[in-house]
Subunit: 271 residues, 4 copies
C-alpha cells in the first residue's frame, strides 16, 4: 500500500477566497436538443421553467448557506459539484410532476454543468444580478417576437431572424403590437424578469433599513461555530420563495436586507 | 446593459494541463445517513453497488472520451460538473430498477460531489489505480469481519471495533474462518476487487503487445479534429463492461492496451 | 517550427481577481546566514533596515500603481516577479551606500522570494496591516530583550531563550528596565513600529474626511484608460515617504484617505 | 493580535504538480529602452549576452536542483520569485564586469519578470526546447539581415523592414551573401543557436546510453531525503557550462543523459 501512497501528492488544493460572494452558474447540457426531444413549448415552456425553479427551491432548502446562490464554503470544487448534483437529482426526480405525460427516455436524460465565479463586494454582486436580469429581458423580447412571427405570422425561421437583425427594443415592441396585437408589457413576469429565489422573512421599510452595507463585509470567519449553526437553523425555518420582480433597483434589496447581510430576519406571521 | 458588463472580468479561466491523465473522483454526499434511511444491506449492498456501476456505465456511454475516468477536455470545472451531473441523473433515474420496493423520498435524494486530480504519466495513473484497489481490499476485509462479528456474532459495534483495533489481514482472515467458517477468498469479487469499467475490444496477447508506453505520451493536440471525431465514433461502438479483476499486475493493462493508448482496438466478434 | 508550436498550450493563465487588494510579501532568502556573513548588528541593524526601505522606496517610485503594496494588474505572476526583481535590483545596487566598507561577496548575494495574497475589502486589508504591526512589536520586544540579555548581560543564547520562555510583554519590559535601565518606550520608532511607505500628499482633517469607504469599492474597471493614465502621472509626482507610525488606529487612514481610495490628494506645499 | 489573525485564511496554496518539468522563463522588463539607454550593439551585443549567461550560470550554481531550468519544488511562487530574484541580483552585481565603462544609472536599473510553465513529459520538454531554438534561429537571421541592411547598407529602418516582409530564410541568406558578402553560416554560434546551460559530466557514447527514458518518469517523491541530499551535493561539484549547440537532435540528449534523468554522471577528468 505504502508504495502507492505518493499518488496523494497530486491532489491540488482549491481553497476558496473567504469573504466574497460566490455565484454558481448552472447550465443545462445540450438543452436545445433536449427541448426538441421532449417538445418544450416555444418560446417559453412554463412547465420547464417551473421544474427548474422547483429544483432550485429544493437545492436552497438542502443547502441553507445559499441565498440567491450566496454561499460560504472552504472548497471550491466540492461546493460547485454538490450544488450541480443536488440540482440534477431533484430535476430528474421532479420531472414526472411537471411533465406527467412525457416520461424521461435514456439516453436523453437532462444533465447540467456548473461553474463558480467570485465577486469581492456586494455592489459587484448586485451588478452581476442586474446584468442577468437585463439579459433576460433582452432575450425574452427577442424570442417572443421571433416565435410570434414564426408561429402566428407563419414566417420561416430564417425570414424572421433576418427581419429582426439590427432592430432595437422599440422595433420589436411595435412588431408585436401592430402585427399581432400583443402588448409585451402584459406578458407574464416570469418570462420578462426571470426568477429570483430567496428565503422569505418580514419585509422591511426601506427608510428604516440600515443604510450601511458595511456589515456584510465583516469577516465571516470571526463568527463562532455555534453562532454559524444557529444562523443555519434559522435559515432552515424560512420558506424559500420564487419571485419575478425587479432586482436592479435598490428597493428589492433594501426591503430584504437579510439577503446581503446574511442575518435572518423575522419569520412572517402566517395568515 | 453596458454598465454591468464589467462583471464578466471576474470569471477566472480554469484551463486543464494537456497531455495528462485526469481522474474524476465522485463521492456520495452523506451516504452513511442515506444508506441507513433506505436500509442498505451491511457490509455490502449488491443492489447499491450495481446501481453505482449502472450509472457509471451510462456516464461512460454518454461521454466517449472517458476510459477508466480518462478524459481530455479544455475546461476543468465543466468536465467535473458534467460528469457528476450525468452520474446523478442516471443514479436517480435507475434507482427504481435496483430498489423497486424502496421509492426515493425527498429530501432524502442521493447526490454527489466530485473533484479532479491530474497525473502526468500512465505509470503514476496505474499507481493511483493500484492504490485504490489495495484500499478496497483492506476496507472490505475490515468491513466484512466487523459486520460478521456484529450481525452473526452478536457483538456490539464498539466491542467489534475494539477487538479489530491493531489487527493485520491475517488476524481478520482467522477471525472469519475460525469463528464463522467464512473463507474470505470465497467472497464475491465485486466486494474484494471493486469494479473497473472500460470499453471492451478483443483482448491482446501480452507477448505481442507493444512494450512501449511511449505512444500514450504523444501529444494529443497533434491529432487533427477529424481524427479525433473518428476515434470518438469508434469508442461509441464498443461495449462498456463492468469487471472485478486485478488491475495492479501488468497483465490487465497489457491485454487491454487501448485503455492507456487511447486507440480503440478491434471490436470482439459477437457470439 | 509548426510541429513544436503545440507546447504553447501548456501555458496556464493566472488572471487576477479584479477589485481586490493585493499584498505582495517579499522575504529575504537565507537572511539569517547572510546577516551573519556581513555582520549585521543585533537585534536591529539600522543600515540594513534603511537599505530595505531605500529599495522599497525605489520600487514604489518605479511602479506608481503600488501604494502600501496596493496594486492593480492583470497578471499575478508578472506582478509578483516584477516587484521582487525590481526590489532585488535596487537592493544590490544600493548596498554599497549603506554598507560602504562591506562589499558584497558572491556567492553571498542577497536575494528574495515573494508571494501575493488577495484581500477582498479594505477593512480586511487594514486588519492585515494591523496584524503585521502587532507582530513587529511583539518580535522586536522579544529580540531587544534577548540581545540585551546576551550582549549586555553576558548570558548565553540558550539561557536567555530559556528565561524568556513563557514571559508576557510586561515581564520583558521589566527585565529591560530593572536589569539594564532600558525604557523600551524610548527605543527608536523604526524598530517598534516597522516602516510604512506611501505617497505623501497634504494630510486631511479626519473630521472632514469622507466617512464612506464605499468609493474604494467602485469597480476600477469602470475607469477609462486615459483616466487611469492621468492618475498614474499624478502618483509619480508625489514623494514616497518612509514612516514609523501607528497604522492600527483609524487616525492614520483617515488623515491619508488617498491610500485606500486610490485618488491622489493635493501635493503638499514645499517648505 | 488574535483578532487580526483571521487574515491568514486568505493565503492561497499554490502547490506544484509533482513529477513534471517546470520551465521558468525570465524576461527583461523594458529591455528595448534599456538597450538603447546603455547603447547595446545591434543586432547582438556580445557583452549583454555574456552577462545574461554569467548571471544564469550563477543561478544554476546557487540552485543545484535546476538543470536546464529543470526544478523540483513544493511551491510555485517561491520557486519562480527565487529564481528571478537570484538572477537579478547577479545581473546587477556582474554588470560592471561586462560593461566596465557604462555604470548603471538609476532609475534605469535592469529588472526581470518570470513565469513558470509545466510540461508533463520529457518528450514535451524537448519539444519546448526545440521550439525555442528554432525561434532563436529565425529571429537571429532576421535581425542579422535587418541590421546589416541598415548599418552596412545605409537603408532606413522602414525600408529594410519593408523589403524583408514576406521573405523566407533562403532570401535572407542571399541578401546577406550577395549584397554584403556575409555567409550566415559563419556567424557566431551563440547568435545562431542561443545558449544552453547545464552541468558538465563525462559525455556518454550514444550507443551505450540507456534507450529508456522511463527512469525520468520514476516518481521523484519515492527518493528518500538523504538520497536527494546526496544528489544535490554531487550536482554542486559539477561545473556549469554555457554551450551553443544543436539541442533539437537526439545526439545532444543521448550524450548527456543526466540532464533528463536527473542522475549526475561521472565528473570529467581535469586536463
Amino acid at each position: 500500500m505504502r508504495r502507492f501512497e505518493y499518488v496523494k501528492d497530486f491532489e491540488q488544493p482549491d481553497v476558496l477566497l473567504p469573504n466574497t460572494w460566490i455565484v454558481v452558474r448552472i447550465d443545462g447540457r445540450g438543452f436545445h436538443k433536449l427541448s426538441d426531444h421532449y417538445a418544450f413549448v416555444k418560446p417559453n415552456d412554463r412547465r420547464a421553467l417551473d421544474l427548474m425553479n422547483a429544483a432550485a427551491v429544493e437545492v436552497m432548502k438542502d443547502l441553507p448557506d445559499l441565498c440567491i446562490a450566496y454561499g460560504v464554503s472552504d472548497e471550491y470544487r466540492k461546493l460547485v459539484t454538490t450544488i450541480v448534483s443536488t440540482f440534477t437529482a431533484y430535476y430528474i426526480h421532479l420531472w414526472s410532476i411537471y411533465f406527467p405525460s412525457t416520461p424521461l427516455q435514456p439516453p436523453n436524460l437532462p444533465s447540467f454543468d456548473g461553474r463558480a465565479v467570485i465577486y469581492p463586494s456586494s455592489r459587484i454582486l448586485r451588478d452581476y444580478m442586474s446584468w442577468r436580469q437585463v439579459d433576460c429581458h433582452i432575450n425574452n423580447l427577442y424570442n417572443t417576437t421571433f416565435w410570434t412571427m414564426v408561429l402566428q405570422g407563419g414566417m420561416s425561421n430564417t425570414d424572421a431572424e433576418q427581419e429582426l437583425k439590427g432592430t432595437v427594443s422599440a422595433d420589436k415592441n411595435e412588431i408585436l403590437f401592430k402585427r399581432f396585437g400583443i402588448n409585451y408589457n402584459n406578458e407574464e413576469e416570469i418570462y420578462k424578469k426571470g426568477s429570483v429565489l430567496y428565503r422569505q422573512y418580514e419585509l422591511q421599510d426601506p427608510k428604516e433599513a440600515p443604510a450601511s452595507q458595511e456589515e456584510d463585509s465583516l469577516p465571516e470567519a470571526k463568527q463562532s461555530r455555534s453562532q454559524q449553526d444557529k444562523l443555519k437553523k434559522l435559515r432552515r425555518k424560512a420558506q424559500v420563495v420564487v419571485d419575478h420582480i425587479d432586482i436592479i433597483k435598490d428597493d428589492f434589496w433594501e426591503r430584504r436586507p437579510w439577503i446581503l447581510s446574511g442575518k435572518p430576519g423575522k419569520l412572517p406571521v402566517q395568515g
